[in-house]
């Protein structure tokens, strides 16, 4: 009966590869499940076409296996689109990518909805090829795009996390940033590099921990009175099973992203999870895990989880709707107790029955234990120990032979807001003390970043002007205390500039706040202004309407400024200036000393820091003076010891400086950058990229109410400095004037 249509199809299938012929029949049977007659013909035509493009039998086999499902999802038209694209790939240097491409469709089609999205997907791939293909002498070379195969292989993971738009951004980012670095490109597209993780997290849909941390901290403190820190673990890369949140001694670990689920928004899922964990902290006590069999532990956990949930709902009734929405459970009879272990199925239904009185477990034993459980919790908190007893009883009574089967029914048995309960299970560990620490023999080969006197590194985004977006956590800033030298050196420098100091002193006197300012013509003021009052009185006697503004009042006029002096200490400062025979560094030191002296005399709050950089992974920020430090011997000693090396990654240093400045309470905040050249670093090939980043940084600071101003020693700075700082800059043409100019610029700015 079935042979006739099979014949019909066999005739249509022109392929002569023996392997393909062998695979034909099972594949066709499979195809008949998904496709109608017309579609099957299209499917076979596509297979014929693939046979003829000269790539052997492998692509045909993959095609035969995968396409029926794809065509059902995306429509028959998609077959033609796919075969055309396969042909295009086969003709290009990227022919190796053909099979991964076909394989990727299997997962891609589950995520995308129609053939338009398929087109978008193909366009994204095309763009990728275009950007990463090596171009030699204006011709596309015969070299393949090295990231193509890893990308297609990583596609199942990517597509499960990202939308098509997010995918395009991910591809675009990698293609652009690693165009000259094939190895890094491969790392990125095979999702091995840190950048890949950052970008996926950025492009992922859902609520990220990073954006909700503040809110969660507040919920934790206000509702649960808990100050444990929180940390996030990555969920982007675990395909098999999502890791569970956990609560440890003094640490709360949560997933980095939560998508909406069952109508509960990501942030509320975080909060619900937090509420559950905090309830454990409040009401759970420890149980020795070794005293219970693993399956027993599962049941006891279900009782204990339900108990703390109930107590949490008692305290915060609003939690009920979140718990119920997120506590999924398998339907009655979802699994066959003869074939698989139903332990998880039972535990989950039990747990639901315990927290939700309207849930009908359709199981007498569960009903019975629900009653016992309710009795224990009647106006009491009960205890973890009681739950352990109850759990053990239930486990013994509900036990089935199939519980020991290797296959466990898992679907819908995991309650997403619950943690892994390591908080209350503890293990007896015999070998705890025997742990040996094996020294890492390769340690010396790692690049050593001196972390003495250093704060933990901070990460900053960097602006990418081409894509008009930030590269997340792109640079690493290490802040450390500047080494100290001989403070006398600075005092000697000051003596040298004695004349200048006197001149500055006069200017300072003029700038110092004049304490009171009189405001006249006030209707209500502190004092009667006699002149005006008399005039009004005369007006009154003359029958005219008097001016009632006859008082004056005093207001104080004071400076409330916080200044940050950020000094470039890159290698180029070691240049010797022909005019004076001094290096730029020495001049900077002099200028810094005099300016610091000036600001100190004016009584404004100020801080000083130096910066340089050795690629994006090591931006060094050297603390010279903090806002609360006195300008004294220690600070002078640090200025005296300034050294110049490496490059100028200005944006990151400015962002770091700004985070200190923004914490200051002052009406005016000024970030004064002293530099000798344009922002640059050895790993930034495009000279414009860091300039644009710094420009963006200036805008950011502006919106934070921080005024940035640049003083540059580069005579040719006109080309770029106005682009970065608008008109907030001064170019010092005669560098030997710097010690004189810098404090003056400062005073001009704050006048």
């Amino acid at each position: 009966m079935e042979t006739e249509p099979l014949n019909k199809y066999q005739q249509r299938f022109k392929c002569k590869f023996p392997d393909a012929l062998e695979a034909f029949e099972p594949c066709l049977k499979n195809a008949q499940k998904y496709l109608n007659d017309i579609a099957i013909f299209a499917y076979l035509d596509g297979a014929n076409f693939l046979c003829s493009i000269g790539q052997g039998v492998h692509p045909v086999l993959v095609y035969l296996k995968i396409i029926p499902e794809v065509a059902q999802q995306l429509g028959t038209d998609s077959i033609k689109i796919i075969t055309d694209y396969s042909y295009k790939l086969a003709r290009s240097p990227n022919k190796k990518a053909l099979i991964p491409f076909l394989q990727s469709l299997k997962t891609v089609c589950r995520r995308i909805k129609n053939k338009d999205d398929l087109q978008h997907y193909l366009i994204a791939l095309d763009e990728f090829v275009e950007k990463t293909q090596t171009v030699i002498h204006g011709h596309n070379s015969l070299y393949e795009s090295s990231g193509m195969v890893p990308l297609l292989q990583a596609m199942p993971q990517l597509i499960s996390k990202l939308s098509i738009k997010g995918l395009r951004n991910f591809i675009d980012y990698g293609a652009r940033n690693y165009v000259d670095a094939p190895d890094q490109q491969i790392d990125y597209f095979s999702l091995k590099s840190h950048d890949a993780k950052s970008i996926i997290n950025r492009e992922r849909e859902g609520t990220s921990f990073k954006n909700s941390e503040h809110k969660l901290n507040m919920a934790k403190e206000s509702l649960w009175d808990c100050d444990y820190p929180m940390t996030a673990f990555s969920t982007s890369f675990d395909q098999v099973r999502e890791p569970l949140p956990y609560l440890e001694e003094e640490l709360i670990a949560v997933p980095d992203v939560y998508e909406d689920k069952n109508g509960i928004s990501g942030i509320n899922r975080y909060r619900t999870m937090l509420a559950h964990m905090m309830s454990h902290r409040k009401w759970s006590s420890k149980l020795m895990a070794d005293n219970y069999a693993p399956q027993m532990q599962l049941i006891i956990s279900a009782f204990e989880d339900a108990r703390v949930d109930r107590l949490a709902m008692r305290q915060y009734p609003g939690l009920t709707k979140y718990f119920f929405a997120l506590h999924t459970y398998p339907e009655k009879g979802a699994c066959d107790a003869m074939k698989v272990s139903t332990i998880r199925y039972r535990a989950t239904r039990l747990s639901r029955a315990l927290i939700d009185k309207n849930f009908n477990p359709e199981d007498e034993l569960i009903e019975e234990f629900r009653k016992k459980f309710n009795q224990l919790l009647n106006n009491k908190p009960s205890s973890t120990q009681e739950m352990a007893k109850l759990g053990t009883q239930y486990f013994i009574q509900s036990r089935l032979d199939s519980d020991s089967l290797p296959e466990i029914y898992f679907d819908n048995t995991e309650v997403s807001y619950r943690d892994d309960n390591r908080y209350f299970w503890f293990h007896y560990e015999e070998y705890d003390e025997a742990d040996e620490i094996v020294p890492n023999e390769y340690q010396n080969e790692e690049r050593i970043i001196d972390t003495a006197d250093s704060l933990p590194p901070r990460f900053y985004d960097e602006w990418d002007y081409i894509s008009q977006s930030y590269r997340p956590d792109w640079t690493t800033v290490y802040e450390r205390l500047h080494p100290s030298g001989d403070a006398n050196k600075i005092d000697k420098l000051m003596q040298k500039h004695d004349e200048l100091a006197k001149k500055l002193k006069r200017m300072i006197e003029m700038l110092k706040p004049q304490n009171k300012k009189r405001i006249r013509f006030q209707e209500e003021g502190s004092e009667l202004d006699l002149d005006i009052a008399l005039r009004s009185l005369i007006d009154l006697k003359n029958g005219q309407v008097p001016d009632l503004r006859i008082n004056y009042s005093n207001t104080t006029d004071s400076r409330n400024i916080a200044v940050m002096l950020l000094v470039d200490s890159s290698e180029s400062l070691n240049q010797i200036n022909a005019e004076t025979g001094q290096s730029l560094l020495e001049l900077s030191q002099e200028a810094l000393a005099i300016t610091a002296w000036t600001i100190d005399k004016l009584g404004d709050k100020f801080a000083i820091a130096g910066f340089n950089s050795n690629t994006r992974s090591e931006v060094r920020y050297q603390h010279i003076k903090g806002f609360s430090e006195q300008y004294g011997e220690t600070v002078k000693a640090r200025i005296a010891q300034m050294q110049a090396s490496y490059s100028t990654r200005m944006g990151s240093a400015m962002r770091h400086a700004a985070h200190y400045l923004s914490a200051q309470q002052a009406e005016k905040k000024l970030l004064l950058v002293l530099t000798d050249g344009e922002p640059a670093d050895i790993d930034a090939k495009d000279p414009k990229s860091l300039i644009k980043d710094t420009k963006k940084c200036v805008e950011e600071l502006n919106s934070q109410g921080i005024f940035s101003y640049c003083i540059t020693l580069d005579k040719n700075a006109d080309d770029y400095v106005s682009d970065i700082f608008n008109n907030q800059y001064t170019i010092i043409d005669h560098v030997n004037k710097l010690p004189e100019q810098l404090p003056k610029v400062f005073m001009q700015l704050t006048r």
Binding site: H214, E221, S222, S553, Q665
Partner: protein
């Protein structure tokens, strides 16, 4: 000048927390100036009002602000048809006729302004009106009371040592949950259950002080929320409106508190 208008006729509701009434009485009898300290909306002003009622003395309240001047307190010349006329300020009036002068939130005023009260707050108990050429000896019933909130004063806003060291002090704080709930029940005539929940919200917010909130939710705001609930507003809406919107502009804080309210009221 009728000082009687400043008298309090009806007993204000005040829930005694410890022996503060007794302590205040002693200070009044000894003619000592008083300072009441505590967070906003915890009942400082209500306490002073209550004491004035209990002692049967008039009370003149001045809410201080940055622009307040010595002449705002002491008095000034005003223009009228015959030239200028002297008008007593609240401080002078209280000293002259024997009232309690209550300077609310005194740190809001500039430090040097407050020096005018010095001569009234030590053994001299007198006030010199130099512009008018008059020396007022304070009435026997006169007392100066100041309040301030140590929570939000900055470096700029503090009292001079010389001002501080003229007062006896009483510390106030939000009452315990149980008492606070009673206060709300009594003030707004509301059920214990709702009052308890309002207090829970308030306590949640107080834990956020310093984490994005300058001040916790005061008892006063809880009473407002309860009054709104009496008007038929749902507890959740009333709490958001009275207890969250006024105290913060920070989106994260607002959302967190809203969430807390929803969890507490269910």
């Amino acid at each position: 000048m009728d000082i009687k208008q400043y008298k309090i006729d009806k007993e204000p509701y005040y829930q005694q927390l410890a022996n503060e009434v007794e302590l205040y009485n002693a200070a009044y009898n000894a003619k000592l100036p008083m300072m009441v300290k505590g967070p906003t909306g915890c009942g400082k002003s209500r306490f002073v009002e209550y004491m004035a009622w209990k002692l049967g003395k008039p009370i003149i309240t001045v809410s201080c602000n940055e622009d307040i001047t010595a002449s705002d307190l002491v008095g000034r010349f005003l223009l009228d048809a015959n030239g200028t006329r002297w008008v007593d300020g609240p401080l002078t009036m209280a000293a002259r006729y024997g009232a309690i002068c209550y300077l609310d939130e005194i740190v809001e005023a500039r430090q040097d302004t407050m020096v005018v009260i010095h001569s009234l707050t030590d053994h001299r108990r007198e006030l010199s009106l130099d512009k008018k050429g008059e020396l007022i000896k304070a009435h026997a019933d006169f007392q100066l009371v100041i309040s301030y909130n140590p929570g939000y004063q900055s470096l700029m806003k503090d009292l001079k040592q010389s001002t501080k060291q003229r007062f006896c002090g009483l510390d106030f704080d939000y009452a315990d949950a149980e008492i606070e709930s009673k206060i709300i029940q009594k003030e707004a005539n509301i059920t214990a259950d709702v009052a308890d929940k309002l207090v829970k919200v308030g306590q949640a917010a107080r834990k956020l002080k310093g984490h994005g909130l300058d001040e916790g939710i005061s008892t006063r705001l809880m009473v407002y929320a309860a009054q709104l609930i009496n008007q038929g507003i749902t507890p959740i809406q009333a709490s958001k409106m009275a207890m969250v919107r006024p105290i913060t502009d920070d989106e994260d804080v607002r959302e967190s508190l809203d969430n807390a309210i929803e969890l507490i009221f269910g």
